[in-house]
Symmetry: D2
Subunit: 395 residues, 4 copies
């Protein structure tokens, strides 16, 4: 099909054309002062999006996975212990990375669909009498299940246990789309990427380090060069990078940050919440259920929708792509074939979302599911329309 | 709003990004052979879209209005008579242009919403004993009312009357979206523009002349230079233009023609018909009526929808733009305030159309019209979904 | 060759990529207020470039040739007399257009290479006792010969003769590149296009009308509809066009005007003068001569360079394109084969010009002309280099 | 300055606009089959550029530095020994990375400006009786000094010594611009990036692994996750990535490979050699010297040019940027302030190179160096012009 529909995968997101044009700027000399005028607005803007006064921001030509590795290798040493809940594919992968880097992971197994169990975390921290745990890993938004976790509660768990471990948060599919409070939550490392809330192509790992994390860098003994934040810090001080910077993507990030601030960060969050609320009402209208077990953990950026027993949820994704030229997300890991995912983050309007819901309905009817055409759309419209009570409540 | 929804005005249409990029190619030397490799594929491709073997195709840096002027000034002399039906704003404007150029127009007044009355045309032609009428003007698709006319019937009227007048057809909002048969219908001049079925920016007048029309050029005495097809013909023979050609737009047209042929011309028509059918079902579901008085004249490229007495249809367009960032078309002339228009031509998918219908519903509900949210979308989905009987019938 | 060198044709010029991106904006509703925010900055900016307080600016989807037709058909009636000097291909074509529109042209034949003979014009105007001459046509910059004329002198000729004729100036290849003073010179209609000093694709005719010209519109009887400035004026008053406007090109024009004003209009002129001076020094160094007969008529936007007797100047253009992927301009009309042209207007830097001069040298040496490699480049460098005395003098 | 001159830094290079547009394609679903149609042509095309039948190609969202880390961490274990010559900034950095990853590096210190001393390498290998050396590192083209090394000679040294160490080659600034023979030279890991010969933005690390290197992956104990080639290999087998792939850059790489193959790989090399030859003749004409000590080590992608004692070479770069809007490369490390660099790789024409040489001349004259304007340009023209003997010899 020669015509581009919006995509509804949970990232990379739809990208504003102006951002793409900013990304594909002609070559400049990255050793000239021009680069500094791209670099510093990026660092400052990301810090504001994180709601931090003083986080050290680093941007790598990489992805969120590289951001995870940056967090670990700059702060930890072989054999160190980390504590993490596993409640989805992405928390699983970060845990796996720890193990492959020679770290000991104390895993709190958590059903997929639930958020991080702060209570169990507190228990584990209290039990760690000799303070072996150096870091608590928390996935703010599990992209695989559409589940957000309460990071403030994790912080409270640490504080209640009086435990000095650092708090590392994966905000890949939350930052710039959902409220994130680096300073207030006492986050030590936040990790995100370019291809979600920032509405850019994949290709940047974006991390924020607290002073405490920066101090840990000095003693950490895991090897790193490409991801070494000390080289980055030295480079930034000279408007430079330790290697060739991804100038175009960063120029796009600079514009993205401007667009986000022009819209207003809280308005961006409200738009995501409103669009997500519409999707959730549609799921209700279809008689289906979210993977997320309760309203308090429902993500505003991605919804993982359970299909009936015996139905292969992946067929929805396949048929949507083949027959309607539209992309949804498949289920991953434990929920492969059991859920399909609708991404609703980044550059998205209410009207675009209606086209996604309307197409999902057609596909489900084509596949024999007992869905009423228009039912989910109508439920979402009730949220999206300007006069709607639901919209007011949602916003 | 920083995010671009599709537009649903009846032209300029949504444009594929690849076409826009082709349009704004870097500068080339238009006097070099490179230009010929853009020019001739355009001429040949347009001829195929017109379903003509031998029409002389001319492309001007202008618009459809310039195409009308090209048709008239190259074939007629001051005081000549033309016959035309007035059934909408665009037929009205072509008539007005004739009068401003010193032609005598025999007007068949026709209610807006109806097609060209071929019977009355035949009567008028039969009554023209001394063959004063040199040209019959016919607007294939009245963009103002969403009404298509039966050009084959106009041809039959000419033939039945045995009248030698030429047949000039305005196909601005039909060509490349709806079936057009230059040779079979005995068209002498066909006029279109770049910004409708060809999915380009406005800026090109595209016309086809029959041999009979070319012969008329030699004796026509209306002054013209910019629009003189003889200069164009001489230029084309040398891979050139009589003045600076719109190289970029023509490069875009070349790509557009390729995309149309890749999709298949008949498939393009079927897609427009299917999308239009969905819109018409939605209008039914809303309990509203089209301006077009009967199914046989309903346009596949634009629907003009009557709103209830006392309601200002233009409010729908205003609110859609202001509150939802979406563009629909206002009513023009006689039907201003009485209809709003949904354009559904050019680069458009079923999913995009659902977003337009869904948004129109929200706006109408916001404005207090007794529309059920989701009702029109559901009716269209029933046409668009792959398994749908309606879709099969429509296609 | 897959890599794009700059072009050195005398228009269309090299275009800044940002302008091309502005041109290929996605579709907007041209009947919405958004369009007014493109239209009015264009009208105001063009007026400032013309150095006029009150000129009525009109922008047509057309070319400079359409601008000529706009000038004539809106102000004159069949049989009216115009006075014009013919000193190149473009003055010739405007005269030809007059004749094809039924006007009587009193032609002052002038050798190609010379400017408009203001003295002869004054004589002709004085001799026109019954004031038959309605308009004096003046080509500010003859693109075919690289000759600029003294429009102030033409104005003085009119004033000295006490003649009420209007003064129409073709500024297609001068406006926005060379100083143009609509008000000071008492211009009644100025004509230009998008593809020269404005650094845009071809596709816009841009004209300015004085009050006197606007008054003439009311009585002019040449037929026009597409080019009727009254329809335009009515449209503009409502943020609209009488037909579909070329929104993208106008959005590009808006940006172009911003870029020109950011650089500073006088700086733009100085840059053109400096680059042109370098080209002229190069021509001297090569031992060749300009078509322009004396320094006072040498154009700052295009140089037509005479080649030795017996040498086909067009070969330079052919070989440059074929062997070096670079475009220069051929000679036209009387000087076809006798000159080749270097365009040096629009989006151009000193460094780009060096690549053009260096390539021209290679081509001329390849073709056996007794040129010393590097000689012209060196002469231009002496003008372009920052410390150069010549540069200071030129600027 | 609002107009973009070509850049003459030694990467990122000038990029064809078509490649940039390919890079910033709209979002697709990277888990759909569409991605496979981008991925596999990239892998296959890179393998052909490397002149390998069977190398395992891996592409990371990273840079050449990440490619180095990929090479080391996938094949080596803490404490392993590598052998390397240090003859410039980039060989230095790779050595530094080894040390930071806990490897022992046996360094052959080599004067900057010389190539890898294959004889000394052979000695070192022969002396390594117990085969402690696991890997020989070789920088094919030292970007800091403009020095290419003879990789075939390094291979002969290994063979002559009968040493089983693997051969890792940094081809960042050679691959796709200069001849590289993975199979013939017995390379085990080749490393490059997107932003040099491939004419793309920075953002991809591109590596090729031999079977021998792949076997080493199984036993290597340096930690890695992001750069683990096993995860990549598993992903590729399913048309996927282990994390979000840089789809746009890979789409650009696919086009780049097509453009390279359309031009012909050997023609690409010949073009680089010809342009480089012109630059070297210009340097001669200026009376300056290259950092590269002898013709056999002169790079075809970058020239580092020594300036006279007491002159700060960096001033050339500063003034060129400030006064002429043109980017050259500064000297790095040992030769900072002693050389400036002209990059001449990637998307470059002879004409573009003339503008770089002409501008460099103006800057040097401005700064008081005893350079004759036009002298270097003339010397290069003699190489570049089609009829030139020098050109024939160079090509």
């Amino acid at each position: 099909m020669s015509f581009q529909n919006p995509v509804f995968i949970p990232g990379p997101t739809n990208m504003p054309e102006a951002i793409r044009q900013a990304c594909y700027m002609p070559t400049i000399d990255h050793r000239s002062p021009v680069f500094g005028r791209i670099l510093h607005p990026c660092l400052d803007g990301v810090r504001r999006v994180l709601k931090s006064e003083s986080a050290h921001i680093f941007i790598f030509p990489s992805t969120g996975t590289g951001g995870w590795e940056t967090a670990l290798t700059n702060t930890l040493s072989p054999g160190d212990t980390v504590l993490a809940a596993r409640n989805g594919m992405f928390s699983h992968r970060w845990i796996d990375m720890c193990q492959r880097h020679g770290l000991t992971v104390q895993v709190i197994e958590t059903p997929w669909g639930e958020g991080i169990p702060a209570g169990k975390m507190e228990e584990a921290l209290r039990a760690d009498k000799d303070r072996a745990i150096k870091v608590v890993l928390a996935t703010h938004n599990e992209t695989a299940t559409g589940v957000k976790s309460d990071i403030a509660a994790v912080r409270r768990a640490l504080d209640a246990a009086g435990h000095p471990a650092m708090l590392f948060v994966d905000g890949v599919s939350s930052i710039a789309s959902m409220d994130f409070r680096f300073d207030e939550w006492g986050v030590d490392v936040a990790v995100t990427g370019s291809q979600k809330g920032f509405m850019l192509p994949a290709g940047l790992a974006i991390v924020g380090f607290s002073e405490k994390a920066m101090n840990a860098v000095e003693t950490a003994r895991l090897p790193r060069t490409f991801f070494d934040v000390r080289d980055m810090a030295r480079g930034y001080a000279n408007n430079a990078f330790p290697y060739t910077p991804p100038v175009g993507l960063m120029n796009g990030l600079k514009l993205s940050l401007q667009m986000i601030e022009d819209e207003g960060l809280e308005n961006v969050f409200a738009r995501h919440r409103r669009i997500a609320t519409g999707v959730r009402r549609a799921v209700d209208a279809w008689g289906l259920e979210l993977c997320a077990v309760s309203p308090d953990v429902q993500s505003d950026t991605v919804s993982a929708i359970r299909t009936p027993e015996g139905f292969n949820a992946t067929d929805i994704v396949t048929v949507a792509a083949r027959d309607y030229g539209m992309a949804f997300g498949v289920g991953l890991g434990e929920v492969a074939g059991k859920v399909f995912r609708i991404g609703h983050l980044g550059s998205l309007t209410d009207a675009m979302m209606l086209s996604g819901l309307g197409t999902a309905e057609m596909v489900m009817v084509d596949l024999g599911l007992p869905i009423k055409l228009g039912s989910g759309v109508a439920a979402a419209q009730d949220v999206y329309r300007r006069g709607g009570e639901a919209r007011k409540a949602a916003a």
